[in-house]
């Protein structure tokens, strides 16, 4: 490297480091201060907790005064069930749309892709009416149904692209052996879709886990709240109790960050492999 190139490279890294700090700084600041006593949160907000300032009082209060574990399990149930159904039904529909020729298949594919661009939230008034009349109001089932409907278009779109890349010989060979179509899908095609799952997960899990709108309008009792809604309401009530607020925020941030750091390589590979082009 010439001197010029080295200087430029240092410049590039400086910009990237500066932006990285801007991206994680606020998150670190909140998490770090959640482990401190109140006086240290205000006195030296930028200092990491040490032996004299370390405290878990905020977390204690959050556990005592809110159903945070219940919210977590609700979020987990809703997210996992929705994701499983989005993947299963999405893959089945993507298979049928790419594999079988039938009249109206293009129209159906278009119909299913409306949901990619048009937010389902705009149908909220009718969704609430429907759930009320079906007796599903204030249940996790209502949330799952809405999220499955919301996630399907994108998952069908991405999975169709993947299914098209699977060599045709594979399924035709199975067909010549007389293997039924359902078994071809579940035993030959579905296992090959594994790499696509991380990509579909980015587009389904994250918006579901983070959603505030549908829990806000569809659930009313504490026992059906999700983490996002639970934390939102908790923060609203305890706005002046900084220990609790920072602890509640950290508790909502940490699981996502941990999952993200574990999965980030796949998530980013999925994003950059051209899932959305």
């Amino acid at each position: 490297m010439t001197r010029d190139q080295r200087a430029r490279s240092i410049g590039v890294h400086l910009v990237l480091i500066a932006y990285s700090l801007l991206a994680v700084g606020p998150i670190l600041l909140v998490v770090m201060n959640s482990f401190k006593v109140r006086s240290a949160i205000f006195g030296s907000p930028l200092a990491p907790p040490d032996a004299s300032t370390f405290s878990l009082i905020g977390y204690e209060k959050v556990f005592r005064s809110s159903h945070i574990l219940l919210y977590y399990s609700n979020s987990l149930i809703v997210t996992l069930v929705s994701m499983a159904l989005v993947l299963l039904f999405g893959a089945m529909a993507a298979w049928a749309l790419t594999e079988y020729r039938f009249r109206g298949s293009t129209a159906l594919a278009l119909f299913l892709s409306i949901g990619i661009m048009v937010p389902i939230r705009l149908g909220s008034v009718a969704i609430l009416n429907m759930m009320r009349s079906a007796g599903l109001n204030d249940t996790l089932t209502a949330l799952v149904l809405v999220y499955v409907a919301q996630g399907l278009p994108m998952s069908i779109f991405i999975l169709s692209e993947f299914i098209q890349q699977i060599p045709k010989d594979l399924r035709d060979a199975a067909r010549c052996d007389g293997v039924p179509e359902t078994r071809i899908f579940f035993e030959v095609v579905a296992p090959l879709l594994r790499p696509a799952i991380a990509t579909v997960a980015v587009f389904t899990i994250v918006p579901i886990w983070n959603d505030l709108w549908f829990p806000l309008i569809l659930t009313s009792s504490d026992s059906t709240h999700t983490v996002t809604l639970g934390v939102q309401q908790f923060l609203g009530q305890y706005i002046t109790d900084w220990n609790s607020v920072l602890a509640a925020l950290s508790m909502a941030i940490l699981p996502v960050v941990v999952i993200y750091v574990i999965l980030s390589r796949q998530l980013i590979a999925g994003l950059t492999s051209g899932a959305v082009k």
Partner: protein, 316 residues
């Protein structure tokens, strides 16, 4: 899907094909139609009704829209929300997308080490809930905590600090910038992916011709990723005109101070559910949702007819 996909399926008996389609497509089409398309249509239908205090509904045609756009009590907050939403969108287009593109450009330079690390870190905020992001920034910018003013003081700009989120003049732009901070990862990733797809030979040819990295980016790479940039713009548009969570979590349903941060999403929520100032009105809520639907549709159509058609796609 023009080619016969498989000679086996082409010869399949009709009844068998119908059965398979029902099995494979049935669940997805039923759930999607029932909980996505039907509610949209039903909401639009509901917007042509009005309900009296007893809950009885009567058909009023387009009267709700006339009220929304004509009655001062309704039109003032509506236009305010629409205008604010436009500002929200403009800030995203002018800050989020250029910053995202610039970061993608830097990441795609040859011989930059630690790319994976930077990408992971910069995409992190995008993974978090808007509620959490909003609240965290609310605390950071709060004059009570003093982190933001302290940081500014440290670089000698302490006098610039103001309670930005609390001032009518700056609250909306501040919230927009918080949202930009969170979602800059999306344009960054999509543009980065597109930049990686540019064949090496094109860049090498330009380098041989003596172009520097800067000019290669602006004259070769950027034009080639324009389709992705226009896709990012339309995604930004849809997301912005459907936004709600951030304003609600930082400012509440009333979108203070004095409705300075009210956007269509919060206006819709208030109309539909009501709040301290008004009763919830489902039919007017449906009308607001319908207007939002048409605004998004208008944006999508403009994109399809004006932008998409003019963009040349390069096949490598």
């Amino acid at each position: 899907m023009a080619e016969p996909i498989s000679h086996v399926t082409a010869q399949m008996p009709r009844a068998k094909l119908a059965g398979l389609l029902l099995f494979f497509l049935g669940p997805a089409v039923v759930i999607y139609s029932l909980f996505s398309i039907y509610p949209l249509v039903a909401t639009m239908a509901l917007s042509t009704y009005t309900s009296d205090p007893s809950g009885a509904r009567s058909f009023v045609g387009l009267a709700n829209f006339a009220t929304l756009l004509g009655d001062a009590l309704w039109s003032k907050p509506f236009w305010n929300a629409l205008g604010n939403n436009l500002i929200f969108f403009v800030v995203h287009m002018c800050v989020q997308n250029p910053v995202g593109i610039a970061l993608a450009g830097l990441l795609s330079l040859p011989r930059v080490r630690l790319k994976g690390f930077y990408r992971t870190v910069m995409f992190l905020p995008t993974m978090l809930s808007v509620v959490i992001v909003g609240f965290s920034w609310n605390l950071i910018l709060s004059p009570l905590w003093g982190v933001a003013s302290g940081a500014l003081k440290a670089v000698g700009l302490g006098s610039l600090f103001a309670p930005w989120l609390g001032l009518e003049s700056s609250a909306l732009v501040t919230l927009s910038l918080i949202s930009v901070w969170q979602f800059v990862g999306i344009p960054m990733m999509l543009v980065y992916a597109a930049l990686l797809n540019i064949p090496e030979e094109l860049i090498d040819a330009a380098r041989v011709d003596g172009l520097g990295q800067f000019r290669i980016f602006f004259h070769i790479k950027l034009p080639l990723v324009l389709p992705t940039i226009s896709l990012v713009s339309v995604l930004t548009f849809v997301a912005n005109f459907n936004a709600f969570d951030l304003i609600y979590s930082v400012k509440g349903a009333l979108a203070g101070p004095n409705f300075a941060t009210d956007i269509l999403g919060t206006f819709f929520y208030r109309t539909f559910f009501g709040n301290q100032l008004q009763l919830g009105n489902p039919t007017m809520g449906a009308a607001v949702a319908t207007v939002m639907f048409f605004i998004i549709l208008l944006g999508l159509c403009l994109y399809l007819f004006l932008v998409q058609r003019r963009i040349r796609r390069y096949a490598f």
